[in-house]
């Protein structure tokens, strides 16, 4: 039984070594091309090459980033500067609202 199972595998003429190398190289090339096209080759290179989940994330991430880029680019600096000015006005108003009644009592005769 053992010999029957081993013999076909050990036969060199039925499985050329070169064919196996070509198949592996083609697979690597496809993965590398996918990574290059996705723009995430560098990030993918740090992931576990045996994990199909990692490969999927690396490919889908760019599509999310591309959709939100225009929104995140909306500037708010001008409004934040306005708010600083508004706060100064509110602080000044609060001071006026405190000072008025306080100074009005300086002399009760009027």
């Amino acid at each position: 039984m053992i010999n029957d199972l081993v013999l076909p595998v050990a036969e060199p003429t039925e499985r050329p070594p070169r064919r196996s190398w070509v198949t592996g190289s083609a697979a690597i090339a496809v993965v590398a091309l996918a990574m290059a096209l996705s723009g995430c080759g560098a990030r993918a290179a740090h992931r576990d090459a045996t994990s199909s989940t990692s490969t999927t994330v690396a490919v889908t991430a760019p599509s999310t980033t591309a959709a939100t880029t225009p929104t995140s680019a909306q500037p708010t600096d001008d409004i934040e500067e306005d708010l600083t000015s508004v706060q100064a006005d509110l602080d000044g108003a609060a001071q006026d609202l405190r000072d008025g009644p306080a100074e009005a009592t300086t002399d009760a005769r009027g």
Binding site: T68, Q74, L83, V86, D96, L97, D99, A104, T106, G110
Partner: protein
């Protein structure tokens, strides 16, 4: 300034007593009043001293008010106020020379009756502290509230545009949209109260000693003050809403 003047008047009470019928308005002891009917050489000298004291007290009160008016003018001109038509600034500008005129007249007075009338007009006819001071400060606060309201209204429009753009891009802007709605409500409320405060302040008038006008002025100032306090709170909340919205936009 007020306490020394009060003290001076208190010390002069005995002097005023000799002419109590004239100087009763200066808080004389009731028991001193009967002395009036017997003028003597000594009482004449005392009356002269009382006249000098009234003049001195009047000069001090006028000087104090002129300084206050200068301060109020500076406060009003430091920033846009609700005194758009210049009514309050006009009162402040006119009161200084008018008080100086009273000072000149008081200095020339030769009778206690005239001096007392001029002295009293320093307070009753101008109300620099009782009316003009809260009026000017409230107008200044009203102006700052108005400027802040205008700025926040423009900012709300900008934020509305950017929140909509972010939502169109697929971002969840639910919280930002709620903050925008609240911001609009607060700004509208502040606008209403700021306008009402400005109207109340514009209606103030010198009371000339009229108790009813004194009361209506005080009520108007109190109402304006309350409206401005409320508007201030509204705008503080609107500012916080704007910061919330900005944070949401940055987080996208």
């Amino acid at each position: 300034m007020h306490l020394p003047l009060t003290s001076t008047i208190a010390r002069g009470a005995a002097v005023f007593a000799v002419v109590a019928g004239i100087t009763a308005g200066l808080a004389l002891p009731a028991s001193a009043a009967p002395v009036v009917t017997k003028p003597t050489a000594a009482s004449g000298a005392a009356a002269a001293t009382a006249l000098d004291q009234i003049k001195a007290a009047g000069a001090a009160a006028i000087s104090q008010r002129e300084a206050q008016l200068t301060k109020l003018a500076g406060r009003l001109s430091a920033a846009p106020s609700c005194d758009a038509d210049g009514t309050i600034a006009g009162i402040i500008a006119a009161d200084g020379p008018a008080l100086a005129g009273i000072g000149t007249k008081l200095a020339a007075d030769t009778t206690l009756v005239d001096a007392k009338a001029d002295y009293q007009s320093i307070f009753d006819d101008y109300r620099v502290y009782l009316v003009v001071t809260p009026q000017a400060y409230a107008a200044a606060a009203c102006g700052r509230i108005d400027v802040a309201t205008t700025t926040l209204t423009a900012d709300q429009a900008k934020l509305d545009t950017r929140v909509k753009a972010a939502a169109a891009g697929g971002a969840d802007m639910t919280a930002a949209e709620a903050a925008l709605t609240d911001m609009g409500t607060k700004i509208a409320d502040a606008t209403t109260k700021g306008d009402r405060a400005a109207a109340s302040l514009a209606a103030l008038v010198p009371d000339h000693g009229d108790k009813a006008v004194i009361g209506s002025n005080a009520a108007a100032v109190d109402a304006a003050h309350a409206d401005l306090e409320s508007a201030h709170a509204d705008l503080t909340a609107a500012t916080q809403d704007a910061r919330t919205i900005i944070a949401a936009l940055k987080a996208v």
